[in-house]
Amino acid sequence: MTVSPGPARSRLDPEPLPRRDFLGLASLGAALSALLFATLGMLRLPKAAVLSSPSKKFRVSLPDTLGEGVAYVPPGRSVALFRDGKGVHAVSTICTHLGCIVKPTAEGFECPCHGSRFAPDGSVVKGPAPRALAWVKVGGSGGNYVVDEDVRVPSGTKVTT
């Protein structure tokens, strides 16, 4: 199907779209959308479904000498355990700003990376941290406890001894 070009159009100009073969455009569109969906499908691969990090659930026994308001950090864990008259609780030591490990001090916690400070209950006192430190789940009783760093609990949740 050819139509002679109008006088206003130079032979340099592209042919106007309506003259294009409809089937050609449709198949091109089909191919492109297939490519798009294939790409989206492939993008699922890099999004890991199973995380390779080690289990965050562990058993711990608190030292008998642990005083009130003093943090006990189990070796290799990013959680601080406290024991007081009302029971035992655990505060995550992962800074809510950019994931550094905060250090328990007498006044609460301080982050080495950007200077955030937290009160003993985890709330932000100073610095760029946007949220309070998370309280995580503690179970068990007596001297033995099971801590799960992945399960957050509301601040103030304590397990009675």
């Binding site: 340099l12 990013s78 950019l98 490990i101 301080e110 080495p112 200077g115 932000v124 760029p128 946007p130």
Partner: protein, 516 residues
């Protein structure tokens, strides 16, 4: 008829054998050896790599002060990292702990391993510096203007890719420095949570978490993260960079060579007397491809007498810059070792945990707000820079250093404003603290929106708009904005590098750091 002895197949075979060297040379170099201007031209446009150059270069392009060779420095440094990087890959093993040991092997056991690693490290640094300076050169000579707007964007993509290469390479040694810098970097990717958390919508809309998951392949920096960073560093990003660089160079040629002032020919004066004229007759032909492409024709009216053959003039200049870059990298590698700290320990952060120097300005900003400092402000800066060539469509000052309304005096003023504002804001924060210390119950969203970083950006933006009105010129505003960004970047980087100690506290000198 039997063949005469001299024309027998055996004789032909022997003759062909004898002629192999000459025949081989002729087959490899089509236009003959590049020994005259004409054959050199054939050589340049017949070679896939050389033909990224035009056959002739304008005399203005060959002046040192036109470019200071910064683009060539950047690509030279890239080639050096490419060669040294491939050598390092022979021994490097991308697996936690093993990676650290393999770097130790490279440092202490592998023949020349330490030297090669040092060169790699230094060339990467030289590349970052060269890319930044090259960008500044392009900006200050207004070389981003039409028809080079798109190449400015390609250049910005190259800057991001260069920084990405440096960042991904930073993790590979798997030492304390690397581990914590990447932990911070990955959490910056997750920083949109600062906003989504405050709005209480993270549970069903979490772009930050998705970015972090895609980057690390896990919820913390571990083996998955290391293999991803390795893949990006040795494969994906170098390929992206090579592709972008090819487009970048090709477009320089297609956009008419390096930028030069409209009156460059007059300023250069007449060509040297021994110049052989390009056209010995009046040009009867132009070179446009009639009826196939549109556009201006290269030769109109007179021959390009202010140009010299790219081979050898331009190639000598490029080779000179390349050799100088190599010399600098080698010298630095002999003087200073690439750092390697203790093995990564996920329980004890490095204190202070510092990113590579070119990210310390950003780290200074994220120490006010992770989202604005790590994502918001960089996005604003990149958008502003990307829009400059599309907003500044003036013509005055193209190709001249600090060209355009305002010129150098304006730039000087902008340097004062840029450093002054950054110093003032930093001084206030360091001395008096910020909103959280003054109003402990303040909502996080207010701090995200109003913090030293956003305040500084707003000051720079306001100053730039004032300049646009004061000089009645977009270029004046762009000059002010770019200069301010540059000064802010330099000042924040210096503070982050030299004046921040443990807990990111301000110290005048590392000698004042507490013992810990």
């Amino acid at each position: 008829m039997s063949p005469t002895p001299l024309d027998s197949a055996l004789h032909r075979f022997l003759r062909n054998l004898r002629e192999i060297p000459e025949h081989f040379r002729a087959s490899a170099v089509r236009g003959g050896l590049p020994s005259t201007d004409r054959t050199r031209s054939t050589f340049v446009f017949g070679n896939v790599f050389l033909h990224l150059h035009a056959v002739r270069a304008h005399r203005w392009s060959l002046r040192w002060s036109t470019t200071w060779g910064l683009g060539v420095t950047a690509i030279a440094a890239f080639l050096i990292t490419l060669v040294t990087g491939v050598l390092l890959m022979l021994y490097y093993k991308p697996y936690p702990d093993v990676a650290y040991l393999s770097i130790k092997d490279i440092h202490f056991v592998v023949p020349t391993g330490r030297f090669i690693r040092n060169i790699h490290r230094w060339a990467a640094n030289v590349m970052v510096v060269a890319v930044l300076l090259h960008m500044a050169r392009t900006f200050y000579t207004a070389a981003y203007r039409a028809p080079r707007e798109f190449n400015w964007l390609i250049g910005m993509a190259l800057l991001v890719t260069t920084l990405g290469l440096s960042f991904t390479g930073y993790l590979l040694p798997w030492d304390q420095l690397a581990y914590w810098a990447i932990t911070i970097g990955a959490n910056i990717a997750a920083a949109p949570r600062e906003v989504t958390d405050a709005l209480g919508m993270t549970e069903f809309f979490d772009p930050g978490g998705l970015q972090k998951l895609l980057l690390l392949g896990s919820d913390q920096v571990g083996e998955e993260a290391l293999i991803r960073f390795y893949l990006l560093h040795v494969m994906v990003l170098p390929l992206v960079l090579a592709g972008l660089a090819a487009v970048h160079f090709w477009r320089i040629r297609k956009d008419g060579g390096l930028v030069r002032p409209a009156d460059a020919d007059r300023r250069l004066g007449p060509p040297p007397p021994d110049t052989y004229p390009v056209f010995t007759e009046a040009p009867a032909k132009t070179y446009h491809l009639a009826a196939i492409v549109r556009g201006r024709t290269p030769a109109v009216g007179d021959g390009p007498e202010q140009t010299v053959p790219s081979m050898p003039h331009l190639f000598y200049a490029e080779a000179g810059v390349f050799m100088l870059t190599t010399l600098v990298c080698l010298a630095l590698a002999l003087v200073a070792d690439a750092p390697l700290k203790e093995l990564a320990n996920s329980a004890v952060p490095e204190n202070p945990a510092k990113a590579p120097w070119y990210f310390l300005g950003l780290q200074e900003l994220v120490s006010y707000s992770a989202f604005m400092g790590g994502i918001g402000i960089p996005t604003i800066v990149m958008l502003s820079l990307g829009l400059i060539p599309y907003l500044d469509r003036e013509e005055k000052g193209t190709g001249e250093w600090f060209g355009g309304p305002g010129g150098w005096p304006l730039t000087l003023q902008a340097i004062v404003v840029g450093f002054g504002a950054a110093l003032l804001v930093e001084a206030v924060v360091i001395r008096f603290g910020w909103l959280r210390e003054w109003f402990p119950a303040i909502p996080q969203l207010v701090i995200t929106a109003v913090n030293p970083g956003t305040l500084l950006t707003a000051i720079y933006g306001g100053y730039s708009i004032w300049l646009v009105r004061r000089y009645d010129s977009t270029r004046a505003g762009a000059l002010g904005l770019f200069t301010c960004f540059l000064c802010g970047f330099i000042l924040l980087t210096v503070i982050g590098t030299y004046f921040r100690g443990p807990n990111w506290t301000f110290y005048w000198s590392p000698a004042d750091w507490p013992v810990h």
